[in-house]
């Protein structure tokens, strides 16, 4: 009885982690720096959704579309205003990493200023539970799992079958070579930031509906997304998705056998083990000189 429930719980949280992780991994693979501010895209999406739905009383579907577009544009904004100029100055990836943490804190504080620090909730009809013989799930949670899986499949197809996807993979493989054959890697960066942030936007909307809103949730989410990416292989988008589900399962079984308080410890232990013994993750590829 409990076993199936735990697997369901793992899938729900794994889907949320996967949505964060695949955007992060997409941006990493085309730009080759850690965009930790990705976490704030999720938070901004949830607060925009709250603003649109609860304060401005805009229709549910329109709110979703609005938030997704705005979050995607926010991704482009971050690249244009913060990372682009730094890259132009040939700043090292460490500088970009520090900048990304700075952006995360900056926008976290801006959200605190605008919305306040108190916890906010969005009430929805989608949380009336459905009871099966061996587990309980809500319609929203089914939507979360199904939508994530469809989106992740679409992302995979986008990467494999479309021209822009091919360009992204080319830039991810070798930026210089890609630009020699005429691929505009700047454009590819914009695309990756837009799509990655849009996926974060979807995660943000789901989190707003499924959990509660606080300005500081971004840090925790990006840490989990990052861990998922490392487990699966940060350079591989499908890998990061797989890694996120593994993380979800590990956390929930950890809670079942140990205690809830060890949740983050489990995530970090996994992260540490993978960094030590399999730094390129399960599906990531080891580029560079091979022995």
């Amino acid at each position: 009885m409990a076993l199936i429930q735990i697997i369901v719980n793992s899938l729900i949280i794994g889907s949320l982690y996967a949505l964060v992780a695949c955007g992060f991994s997409l941006i990493y693979s085309t730009n080759k720096f850690m965009h930790f501010a990705h976490g704030i895209s999720v938070v901004i999406a949830s607060y925009l959704f709250y603003l649109s739905l609860n304060t401005l009383k805009i229709n549910f579907i329109i709110s979703i579309l609005l938030v997704l577009i705005l979050t995607g544009l926010f991704g482009i904004f971050m690249y244009k205003v913060f990372y682009g100029p730094l890259q132009k100055r040939k700043s090292s990836n460490i500088v970009l990493l520090i900048a990304s943490v700075g952006i995360l804190i900056l926008f976290e504080n801006m959200i605190m200023l605008v919305f306040g620090t108190t916890v906010k909730t969005i009430n929805s009809d989608l949380t009336k539970s459905i009871e099966f013989s061996s587990f309980i799930i809500t319609p929203l949670q089914i939507i979360i799992i199904v939508t994530s899986l469809i989106l992740l499949l679409l992302l995979y197809l986008l990467m494999k079958k479309t021209k822009i996807g091919r360009n992204m993979r080319a830039v991810s493989d070798n930026k210089e070579l890609a630009s020699i054959i005429g691929i505009d890697y700047k454009k590819v960066s914009y695309y990756s930031f837009f799509i990655g942030s849009l996926l974060a936007g979807i995660a943000g909307i789901f989190i707003a509906l499924e959990q509660t809103l606080e300005p500081t949730i971004g840090t925790n989410l990006i840490v989990k997304g990052f861990t998922g990416s490392i487990i699966g292989g940060i350079t591989s988008v499908p890998g990061s998705i797989l890694g996120s589900y593994i993380l979800g399962i590990a956390e929930n079984f950890g809670i079942w056998y140990l205690s809830s308080g060890y949740k983050d410890a489990i995530a970090f232990t996994l992260l540490f083990l993978f960094l030590l013994f399999k730094p390129h993750g399960i599906l990531g590829i080891n580029k560079g000189i091979k022995k």
Binding site: A2, I6, T118, S129, N252, G261
Partner: protein
Amino acid sequence: MQKVKIFLALFILIVLIGACSSQNNGNSNSQSSEPIKLGLLLPLTGEAASWGQNSLAGATLAANEINSQGGIGGRKIELVAEDDKCSADSVSAIQKLINVDQVTGVIGPICSASGGPALPIAESNGVPVVIVAASAPKLTEGEYIFRVYPSDSFQGKEAANFIYNTLGKKKIAIVYVKNDWGEGIKNVFAPTFRQLGGEVIYEDGVLQTDKDFKTLITKVKESGAEALYLPVYPAGGVSALKQIKEMNLNIPVIGGDAFDGEEFFKSDYAEDTIYLVARVNSPEDFKAKIKNVKGFENLEVAIAAPLAYDALRVMTEAIKNTGSTNKAGIKEALKQTSINGVSTSKIEFDSVGDLKQVAYDVKVVRSKKSVYR
């Protein structure tokens, strides 16, 4: 070079102006003899700023009242306020109060996070402190530390009594937030509940950042608990209650005083949740008096004002009883002092330095409002 000179000149000017203005303050307060300096260690800015401003207002009102009656033995009370930002900045703030201002006693802090690092400094320097609102049980461990706000340990005890005797639930699950506050409550709750004859059937701590409790709730469900005691913060609490409803865990949920805020009971999922909160009075005529204090006309008066008012009064009463500003003497006097408070009817300290008598209210959320149960 020219620029440096201008800067230097400006700097000296600013320092001089600052010195003059503080000199003025000093002069206005010391008439017949040296004033008695009392330090205020409060979050004047940051997340708990409204608590800090309320405390400042309450303490100022108490000091004004005492000074208008001629002070203590002809000596006026002078307040020196320092900002601890509800954080470990309290260390430098309290060091300044003790070493530079050489205060006779300290009123504050509001936050346990500030009190934890700062109060041992007061203790080792032998400066008496009356805490206004920081509630972590450990804070009053020192000889010199007293508190006019109920310690969290009382809350655990009250909750155990309420659940066992009033609700009649004998098997309890406890899920607490892993920090000073949550663990402090749990460490008193669990043994008390067992002593009463009940069984703590499940016990687990959660991280303050955690929002996903589904597997935890599955465990509580499997444990067969008759009620759930949930001392966590509103952000986690609302998430937990939502998931408790979703997972059809139909047992009463009892929370801690952290649930006593609009952000909690305005949410859809708080309905029927019971929580215990210490009774702190804030009568209307007292609120009116606060609003008459210069500079606080527009203050939204909250419970920190009567608490700080009482803290200052109990401190000055002890100084009066000592007859001098001997700090060890004041500490001894504080142990004996008893006054009629505003926040609570009688302020007297037990052997630890906490209030002897504390009353708790049991509230329940009904139609998005908090009502007495």
